[in-house]
Symmetry: C2
Subunit: 199 residues, 2 copies
């Protein structure tokens, strides 16, 4: 149907290229955009171009930024002796939301995944080892995802960092706060028992 | 957090202006777009500008098109004596997918909704009446949505078209094919009983 309107079809295809957007949602978004006035559509297009032009990776930690350094690295109150390693910027943002962590970050931009052909040299592990080797780093918190790829990545990083005399830690596994034991999966529950603490 | 990256924030706001896109999804889309290469991002921006520039309403029926007339109106095999009235282009597309209807359309671009300040003059009802009055139209199928606003619109249209000597029909209400009676709501079920047919 919309094949008849080529430019609408093209716009819809662009939306469907975004992660997590299916064909139906993409078409709905294209329709919605057609309803924008000319100025708003122009603003949208400009926002894409601007974001793409201005945003780049922080040369220190790999976080996204539109400045020379990201806002974490350029914040002098942050403790540069603790580095939290995350797979992506979304994980960094999640940790920042807690407002408890005062160290800095290292964004890997991926996780080791032999199945998907992602070898250690494809993500920012070398940069991490160099960074730890050349600075006054006391602790590296490996906050990769609790998935198989995340685990493999954590093990790999740990193997290379420990010889440098740095403390390497991993986030605690356990029952999510506010959840019900009945609904916890067995692996999580097993890890929670394993990691039990004195009260 | 992302407030620190102004251009990312701005891009995310643009996505959240699209109908049905919430703040979290918008941010995820903005992140996804940042991962595009420069050329793809440029293509995306261009697709927005092109679609907005080229797509307009068909002067006859109100459907979207990038030509002088929409593909339905310019198709000589369609029966112009039957007009199907829909609220929006998405409804038109749904009917086209059935591949059974061979008449033409009239897109109202809305429905009468006193609560939302949408009076009959705000949607394309006048154009419909003029069209029916000036052409060889035998039947108008009012396919507005089965909602209160859709019903009010259908009644209003019917009131003005019937004096013109044209047959005005409405889509049948009933149980959706393939569904289970147990899950049908009472109003739909009531309408299905009311509209029962001989077998």
């Amino acid at each position: 149907m919309t094949d008849y309107i080529e430019s609408l079809q093209r716009l819809s295809e662009q939306f469907s290229k975004l992660q997590g957007v299916g064909r139906k949602s993409a078409m709905r978004m294209a329709f919605s955009l057609i309803e924008f006035d000319d100025e708003s559509a122009q603003e949208f297009a400009q926002a894409i171009i601007d974001a793409k032009r201005m945003i780049h990776r922080c040369p220190l930690c790999g976080n996204l930024t539109d400045k020379d350094e990201c806002y974490v690295c350029s914040d002098l109150s942050r403790d540069t002796s603790i580095i939290c390693v995350v797979e992506d910027v979304k994980a960094l943002m999640s940790i920042e939301k807690v407002r408890e962590y005062k160290g800095v970050y290292h964004v890997l931009h991926g996780a080791i995944s032999p199945v998907n052909g992602i070898t250690p040299d494809k993500i920012r592990i070398k940069e991490l080892i160099e960074r730890v080797g050349s600075g006054d780093v006391n602790e590296v918190i490996v906050a990769t995802n609790p998935t198989q790829d995340g685990e493999v990545t954590a093990m790999y990083i740990s193997k290379y960092l420990k010889p440098l005399g740095v403390k390497v830690t991993r986030l605690a596994y356990g029952i999510p706060v506010g959840s019900d034991l009945e609904y916890a999966d067995e692996i999580t529950l097993g890890r929670a028992i394993e990691g039990r603490r004195d009260v």
